[in-house]
Symmetry: C2
Subunit: 224 residues, 2 copies
DNA sequence: CGAACGCTATTTGTATACAATAAGCTGCCT
DNA sequence: AGGCAGCTTATTGTATACAAATAGCGTTCG
């Protein structure tokens, strides 16, 4: 992570996520190199990665632009994610170890604590949520799946307006996680897959609704 | 395609597929640069792409190796492919245009001709088969899906022993394509998805069987 | 007035030199 | 003999200079 190309990658990525680089705008390698304090070489490297992850698209003459996704695009990403993650859950149910199951329980317990407080601790929730899903990926035992999921999972963050979490949805997440653990515990792949599908699709609708609330007042898509 | 990095990409890729670069072996940027007649810069570019496509993996200290997939790995690739391509078929059924439908019919007709001759024309079959599936991807209207599918579709080629095609399986492919066209024609996404799943899974078993026949005589995985 | 041509400036692609890092070896010490 | 230290070499990472491509613009010609 200390390599210049890694620093460039993180820097550019965070500039995209924060809106500092606006969706649709052209990005030039040299400008980024200056911003990141490195030469063009590692910047090009970082751009290639970000392009593979669909944060950046290039036109026919190789010029780079920040991707801008419509809500429809993001629904499609969620749908793919639901499918892939359900598949991962189905595989995981057959392969998960007692240790992994214990870790799932522990992270979901931390989630419960994070949302039980008077003021829910969102960063803590997100962190343990990420670990929870990572363990399922790990238990599914497929690198390929992990790679693909990474592509569709982080994408929705690009519409920043939806970073609003209501307690109701956080609680539902926690309960769905509990049901996932039960499904894994009984080694029921179909059950796990079904709960996971519902989990992701509910998350999409929560996201879309929050996004609609965010946009109706016109406070949308402007640089941070 | 005339850029040096593209030439390097194609060259390295074909060396991997032909077995000239053996699975598991380390590959050095400079050596490849000489082989391709370009400098290291475009080679590194090509390696990054091939790494994203899982033809190459890198160890913790950034050294590159030709990936070697087990039959289990490839079954998993086929399974992912079945899932993604079924999803594409389901979407395509709702969106496909009359023109695209006509092109599907025409390609499948060419496939029929290719396998009706006394000696089946395998390259012709493969070419029209590729177009047939490409049209379905196009009709599904999802770039993301296309990208992911590309990753899992070309992977099985790495085990070269299975490049044997028996007439029986070619005929089945043709008939399954016919049924797909019918499902699209009646805009029945579930039908299309089911036929596609069966289509890909049958292809996997044909592949695995051919591979078993290829390996039982010990003629396996040696450079071409 | 519009279209097409060619120039210029901008941007990306490639080569090469050098820096940093990791691997492998040699020889010493225990 | 075994293992560790330090050196040596192999390999990848980064910077920079230059080459190629292309987009934008102004001019000219129909």
């Amino acid at each position: 992570m200390s390599r210049a190309s890694d620093r460039a990658y993180s820097h550019i990525r965070s500039m995209i996520l924060s809106g500092e680089l606006q969706p649709g705008s052209q990005i030039r390698e040299e400008a980024l190199a200056e911003l990141c304090g490195v030469s063009r070489t590692p910047v090009r490297d970082a751009l290639r990665r970000l392009e593979a992850e669909l944060f950046i698209r290039r036109n026919e003459s190789q010029r780079s632009f920040v991707a801008d996704w419509s809500l429809d695009d993001l629904e499609e990403a969620f749908q793919l994610r639901a499918m892939l993650e359900a598949y991962a859950a189905r595989r995981a149910a057959k392969r998960i170890s007692w240790d992994q199951l214990a870790r799932l329980r522990s992270h979901n317990d931390a989630i419960r604590q994070a949302i039980s407080a008077a003021q829910p601790d969102i960063p803590k929730f997100l962190d343990h949520n990420r670990h929870f899903h990572a363990i399922i990926m790990e238990a599914s035992g497929s690198q390929r799946l992990s790679g693909m999921l990474a592509q569709v999972t982080e994408q929705p963050v690009v519409l920043r307006t939806a970073q609003q979490y209501d307690l109701e949805n956080l609680r539902r997440s926690h309960h769905e996680h509990e049901e996932l653990v039960m499904a894994f515990d009984s080694r029921d792949g179909e059950w796990a897959a079904a709960v996971m599908t519902a989990h992701i699709r509910r998350a999409f609708h929560a996201y879309a609704e929050a996004h609609a609330r965010g946009t109706e007042k016109g406070q949308v898509n402007e640089a941070a």
